[in-house]
């Protein structure tokens, strides 16, 4: 006993010692430059003696902003234009002083500027632009036959597509949304003719694209800096401010190109420190195993919850009436919320953590289970219900001994659908830095690298297939034999 106490004491001491090094958590958004700047900040903070973590590839501005406000992360790279327009919702670009004052009530500050400007830009293939004589955004007038697809964020932004069209007097009736990572591939393969880009994107050079001149100065300046929590240790703030003015456009493009080439964001960040770093030899199989294990963990926990809550809800919903309509209506409505929107709703409430991903997956898994449980119970013919009642079984015994076994096949089919949906949807966990097979998919989209995307997409597809087979076997093992016979009495 005494020895055990000493052992506990030793663990506690070592944990306390580990905590001597102050922890700082860096966040980043899901595009190459943000990943690189996240890694760069992590290295800088480690040099300053901090235990720095990097939660990378977080879904959208609103989600990463909520994560910063709630303290899930301490800092992340951002751009002045985005802060003015998206976070502070200001109708005009704000100065650094105005931004500092406006962010203070939220407990957030801005670092000094890093030294480069990453503004939005419209890009086309150079050969097509030359052929059509399009060099500036004004030149787009009269070319309404161009196929345009834009990133979802740019389409919705206050400094995005619609205000731009208004300022330049452009009229393109049919403009679709596309993922920023995919847009370059689409542009290269001539599936589209024009998309939005960031002026420091590596692909501009790689794919021989032309940046259309913003001749009316529509785009605000997007000067890069870090947003940080004001309660971050002063030493960490100093370390970040030491980066001020040290990264110009050519250096940033160089790091972006390196990241896309090596698929190693940390290798790219090392360029800034003029450090020789061999490209991390990633064991693909190790990564896949790690991501798959994490994926299964998220799916497993959320499915368990969905079963524990979904089946009773389905039983409740089997009785026709207002409650039934409300339960089915609610679970159906949840299913229609896009995953990014659901995360943006949940992050302010719970934060960036495993629980958020599990709650979202749980909500998406409910509908098939609830609906099939209710439908399975409702489809039991009245004569069986009457027989069960007439025998003198108590309501609970009727449910567990008669109704649920009779509905078991339908319920199991619902669980199967639910698991397959869940496996696909669990890739969204990566949007809030919770890992799983979505991690390589999002990183691959940012890197514009199909190989990396497939490292997540193929295992996820295989998991879904295997899950389908497992459920076919479960159907044989769990469903009472009498229900599988051609049932003439029903």
């Amino acid at each position: 006993m005494k020895r055990f106490l000493l052992f506990l004491l030793a663990i506690a001491t070592s944990m306390a010692m580990a905590q001597d090094k102050q922890q700082v958590t860096v966040g980043s958004k899901k595009f190459t430059e943000s990943y690189v700047l996240g890694n760069l900040a992590k290295r800088q903070l480690e040099k300053a003696g901090f235990d720095a973590q990097h939660k990378q590839g977080i879904g959208a501005t609103s989600i990463v902003w909520q994560a910063l406000k709630s303290g899930d992360i301490d800092l992340y790279p951002e751009y002045t234009g985005t802060i003015s327009e998206e976070i502070l919702k200001s109708p005009h670009p704000l100065t650094d002083d105005e931004i500092t004052a406006a962010l203070k009530p939220d407990g957030i500050g801005i670092s000094k500027e890093l030294g480069f400007d990453d503004t939005y830009a419209l890009v086309m293939r150079k050969d097509q632009a030359d052929q059509l004589g399009i060099h500036s955004i004004s030149d787009l007038k009269g070319h309404s036959d161009l196929k345009i697809e834009l990133s979802h964020e740019f389409l919705k932004r206050k400094d995005g597509w619609e205000p731009l069209c208004a300022k330049y007097g452009l009229n393109f009736p049919d403009v679709q949304g596309i993922d920023h990572g995919i847009a370059y591939t689409a542009l290269k393969s001539k599936a589209i003719d024009l998309t939005d880009a960031y002026s420091t994107d590596a692909q501009i050079g790689q794919f021989n694209l032309t940046v259309l001149k913003d001749n009316l100065n529509f785009f605000p300046k997007y000067r890069a800096l870090y947003l940080y929590r004001l309660n971050m240790p002063q030493k960490a703030v100093d370390a970040i401010n030491a980066l001020a003015g040290k990264i110009d456009e050519p250096l940033m493009i160089k790091m972006n190109v390196d990241a896309e080439k090596t698929k190693d964001f940390d290798h790219a960040a090392a360029i800034f420190f003029k450090e020789e770093k061999s490209v991390a030899k990633k064991s693909i199989w190790g990564d896949i195993a790690k991501n798959t294990a994490r994926h299964l963990q998220l799916v497993g926990i959320s499915m368990l919850l969905a079963l524990i809550i979904g089946i009773p809800l389905g039983i409740w919903a089997a009785k026709p009436g207002l409650t039934s309509q409300m339960i089915l209506g609610f679970t159906g409505m949840v299913q229609t919320i896009p995953s990014l929107a659901l995360l943006a709703l949940l992050v302010p409430l719970i934060g960036i953590q495993t629980g958020t991903a599990i709650l979202a997956l749980f909500l998406y898994s409910l509908l098939p289970i609830v609906r099939n449980t209710a439908a399975g119970l409702q489809s039991i013919p009245a004569s069986f219900k009457e027989s069960a009642e007439a025998l003198g079984l108590e309501p609970f015994a009727r449910l567990t001994q008669i109704y649920l076994p009779m509905a078991s096949r339908t319920i199991l089919a619902g669980v199967k659908t639910s698991v397959i949906i869940n496996i696909g949807t669990a890739t969204l966990a990566a949007l809030i830095a919770q890992g799983g097979l979505g991690d390589p998919i999002i990183a691959g989209l940012a890197l514009n690298d199909t190989g990396t995307i497939l490292q997540g997409a193929i295992p996820a597809a295989v998991l879904a297939l295997v899950a389908g087979w497992v459920f076919d076997l479960l159907d044989l093992a769990l469903i009472p034999k009498g229900l599988r016979l051609n049932n003439q009495s029903a």
Binding site: S383, G482, L485
Partner: protein, 242 residues
């Protein structure tokens, strides 16, 4: 032993059963008969508490029923299609309630054997699922399940309605023998006058939610209470004549 006091049943504005009182004699077999929608099945469901009366009450062993779950265990019930649970074997269907009430397994087995002989259900069919049994076997099994807890009353809702005529005749004979051997109070619903006359001591003829006449088949034939009784009897007779 069981009686209905001023009982009625309405579904919204529609009266399924007009207020009536009816007592069933102990140890006798009573047939409830009448055209479709006359209220005979409603009456049977009221007797088991499967539906709630709009007025009046059911009196069982001299007192209003306080707890239907307990009371139903004193009653055996057979529905038209047997109502056998498809996920349970024949054996499990019959022993369901006895096992639920934690009766000793040996007692359950000997009772099932005894009932197999009484109802002439083949013992090798006990391990089969309902879907693997013939229509007649299902009704015999359903009867076994109803008799398993040695109920005070046996209620049957068109027990032979879904069977083909050959099986039906055989089962009618077997049922009569069983009723006589058990000396039990039996109430059954049928729309077949010949069946009612063959199996029952007393016939209750119903029409439009009310009792038209109560008595033996002979009473109905010789002293019809109304023109409806004569019409009903002649309709059935002309069927036989065909």
């Amino acid at each position: 032993m069981i009686q209905l006091e001023n009982i009625s049943k309405n579904y919204g504005d529609n009266a399924a059963l007009l207020p009536l009182s009816l007592a069933f004699a102990e140890g006798k077999t009573t047939a409830l008969i009448g055209p479709s929608g006359c209220g005979k099945s409603t009456l049977l469901r009221l007797l088991m508490g499967l539906i709630k009366p709009s007025s009046g009450q059911v009196v069982f062993n001299g007192a209003p029923v306080p707890d239907w779950i307990q009371t139903r265990r004193e009653m055996g019930y057979v529905v038209q299609d047997g109502g056998l649970f498809p996920h349970l074997t024949a054996q499990r269907n019959v022993g369901l309630m006895a096992r639920h009430l934690k009766k000793p397994e040996s007692q359950i087995q000997s009772k099932i054997n005894e009932l197999c002989e009484l109802t002439r259900f083949p013992k090798d069919g006990l391990q089969r699922f309902p879907a693997e049994l013939s229509g007649g076997q299902k009704q015999r099994l359903s009867l076994m399940r109803a008799l398993m807890l040695e109920p005070q009353i046996l209620l049957l809702d068109e027990p032979l309605g879904a069977l083909d005529p050959m099986v039906r005749v055989q089962l009618q004979a077997d049922l009569k023998e069983i009723f006589q051997r058990l000396k039990q109070t039996v109430i059954f619903v049928t729309h077949d006058l010949a069946e009612a006359g063959f199996l029952s001591d007393e016939i209750v003829l119903m029409n439009e939610g009310a009792i038209v006449q109560k008595g033996s088949l002979k009473d109905l034939q010789e002293k019809p209470a109304s023109e409806f009784v004569t019409k009903f009897l002649s309709a059935q007779r002309s069927l036989v004549a065909l």
